[in-house]
Symmetry: D2
Subunit: 307 residues, 4 copies
């Protein structure tokens, strides 16, 4: 595979990280999950993103997760590896390691924790691209990073060959549309949406693909959605999306906890209920969802025809 | 017309307020604009919304604008009147006056300026609906109000008959999709998007209609878009939307000013260039766009085939 | 009194607005409150600020409140009137009316509801100062207005004679200190803090005075605090402040409601318990504090030696 | 030293990290800086905080910085080490390493990058305190972490012996005062302010000490300020603070860059001008301040009597 020349399209799920009851990486579960996703028709795997609890994993655990995903994938689809680090040199260090571990592309956010500025964000991505010998995706996720990547900046970095694509989890659908329109003249650049509840709409608006956390739970559904859209059958795409959007309600089941624990906890719970992973343990300091939430998620799986 | 039983659909532009050079309401221009919009195929008129500079108008000017719009419309389509006031009693006062002036429905936001709470927002809408004898729309516009209406709260108020519809300018496309899905069982409730750049996508996701500021400039285009979507011709809808989204770039032309002055200033400038209104004066303390911006907007109109 | 030449110092409480059980202005209670404050040693009265529930009052009620405060004050101290309106022309209209009703100065915020810009904020204050023939205070309250007044801008407007003073409720103590330092060369300009829990500290940092909501409840305490600070007796000032800061815990008593309802509701409840006003009714859609909260506030008054 | 029983007071600067022109740790400069600070009368050293550019340093560089500071300090004052990591297990790993490297206490924030919740923040600090055998400081820095530590939560964790102290850089002076009042009954708990421009005011309000970034530049000044306050000489404390607050204007000199680059860049530039460190290089992607800014900072040093 010549990853540098791949145009990234289709369904590229951000792979969740199954944990054993004592919080270690659950290798057999992760391997089963990768197999399940590949069987479901995904066109790529995004490891070590927010949905992978990457912010909760130690450096060693991060490497372990990537090794397992790369191994289980065995070259079937490109593996995109998050290098989610506070600033430039840390991203470069992690990105370089990701290449050694077999990643086909890396994903970085703008600097976080520290206050930053557009000029520094631009320099950040340029330095990463220069230093890491892999295609580079920008990850626009203001809910985590607390700054928004500007449309003009992204298009400039794309035109200059710095960026191979963007994963947009910004919630700014107008900005996303402007980006997709602007990218129409940049044939190698991939515009991917992270919002699993509106993939049909984003595809109508020229998204190249999706990185839906919910695709961990139902990769086959997202593959059907993308196929319908590619065929111009928007009615079918929309019907599939509506079923998935109803299923997505699982992330709102848990109350009195963080959105992260509620959302990723729901995905893990659903995967446990579907028999793909062994348990729904979350990284500290988050707690796993309890019996009440598990029952509610089971009902949502039933309603979606997934049990 | 029995406004209470209307299901609001289609294109309902938030009518901009033309001003004379000395800042007074420009009645002839406003009347021409209403005629232009009706000719363009709009299905309703939203007066005294954010795009009408309602926050900049005195009480008397607000009434004057509504009178002119109601008069020029002459009953052809429903007129929805903003009652954009900080809190409940003020909304009720303005809403009651709006009915006297001929409005067919009123629009209110959550309380603003003051800190508020979900329980107070719910009580706010219930009290308005009880006191004002017109259908009530909620206006979800966090960029102005600095709180977001919760999906569950809106659906509850819709189910209870408090709300007739919602104008969503929240930028939260996932929340909008959840709302549209939840409203599927509420036949009289209208879910309207305020985001002019993604109307095709929102219609695919079951929006009932749109309140696009840009429809002031090109009502015919939005009418075609909505008609294509209604016919299931998503390719044509998307092509029309792309043209309009490129036109929408006009709101980003002005730099070093507020988003309000840049955006509404662009719409007024385009209407001036199209010969509908006499000038592009903005309310104090905003300044009108200057020659450089006017030229750039003229180019965008040319590119969109509107000159 | 030649209000234009007054240097505003000391304790200038933002007068709360007592309401009857059915939500009307309670004139006898408001008159008693003004008398209580004057007796307590206040050096000015700020009517129609956030603490007056000005955002909840209709235009007529706003005028009524100002008339009552001006009447009860009978020229004893300057009356500063809020003209808390969304934009310039509306502020000018209310400011002009305030002068007719007897105010000695007016207070305005930056534009709100609408998106704004520093250049527009500057123009806003300049236009108000030109149009309204009263000293003008800027009110910096980002929690309501959602923008922060820049230190450099305020000092420039002060140097140009546009602003007579500032009421700072920004919570930005570093900005406040920079402002106070910068104002050292502007002898007529008053820097007033709105943060009742740290008045001693702000006075140490060269605040000219305070606009503490809690001074409604204990004006005598704040007068003692200011007198101690003026005498250089910081130990006594700090001891008084500590007592008041403990009393201020009343605003955190109510849960499950807005900060406005909890805070102003506490002040009204305390005034009711002290026998100054007749009831603790709040403006719609807020609810009055209930028995549990009333009891907790009574305990705090006891602990502060105020019952 | 029995660090566990130390009450942390006085001036504890967050030590900046000098870099060579090619971005490596400048050991001789860092050693000179530690010596300069100890000579200036500081009572502790905070390494690997935000002011140390910790978010920009690789894991190895972080360890290197701590080793150098511990070595140069040679046990003279306690060394507090930041363990600024996204989540619990990562903090524990870094905290454990910090102890091995000779730190006397560790500092951790709430989880960042990920969305979190009060219940998770509480569990986070409890797990760290259980796992790391050093006194634990909470670092409240919403501008970086994007959540605010609640006053009640901090006091509860203090009462339970989980926290030894707090470094407050929240900018919430009311919350800080409530914390200091609440901590009056917790004799071993240290309340430290991070706001260098208002240390006098915070000490008046019962802060135990300060962690002022500007103390890198003028430790002697802050030591005098604290001594005056301890002696009850608030006039002298305030005079010293005013001089320092004027000096603090250096962080506003640079325009068109991030607040981090402007602020830390100013401190490094001032230390270079004072002859303590060799250069003012900043970590990528930040740029060092240029000639214009250097000249302006030199002027501020002159005005403060520091050259």
């Amino acid at each position: 595979m010549t990853a540098h020349h791949t145009k990234y399209t289709g369904v590229i799920p951000p792979v969740v990280t199954p944990l054993t009851a004592d919080g270690e990486i659950d290798q057999p579960s992760l391997e089963r999950l990768v197999g399940f996703l590949l069987d479901g028709g995904v066109t790529g795997l995004f490891a070590l993103g927010s949905s992978s609890e990457t912010a909760y994993l130690t450096e060693d655990q991060r490497s372990r997760v990537l090794e397992i995903v790369v191994g289980a994938n065995a070259g079937q689809v490109p593996v995109i590896a998050g290098a989610i680090e506070t600033t430039t040199n840390r991203v470069i260090e992690r990105g370089t390691l990701s290449k050694m571990l077999g990643a086909d592309a890396v994903v970085a956010t703008a600097p976080f924790y520290t206050r930053t500025h557009d000029t520094e964000i631009e320099r950040h991505f340029r330095m990463i691209a220069d230093a890491v010998d892999l295609p580079l995706f920008a990850y626009d996720v203001p809910v985590c990073v607390h700054s928004k990547l500007g449309t003009e900046l992204v298009l400039k970095l794309a035109a200059d060959g710095v960026l191979t694509g963007i994963k947009d989890s910004s919630g700014d659908d107008v900005g996303f549309r402007r980006l997709a329109l602007g990218a129409a003249t940049l044939p190698g650049f991939s515009v991917l949406t992270g919002h699993e509840a509106v993939v049909d709409a984003m595809l109508l608006g020229d998204a190249d693909g999706a990185v839906p956390g919910l695709a961990n739970v139902d990769p086959h559904g997202y593959a059907r959605l993308v196929a319908s859209a590619a065929a111009g059958d928007w009615t079918s795409a929309k019907t599939e999306q509506d079923r998935l959007t109803r299923l997505f309600e699982m992330v709102f089941v848990a109350k009195g906890t963080s959105g992260t624990a509620a959302g990723l906890g729901a995905f893990k719970t659903a995967l446990m209920l579907r028999g793909i992973i062994a348990g729904n343990t979350m990284s500290a300091p988050m707690l796993a969802l309890g019996d009440h939430e598990i029952a509610a998620i089971a009902d949502l799986l039933d309603a979606a025809g997934l049990r």
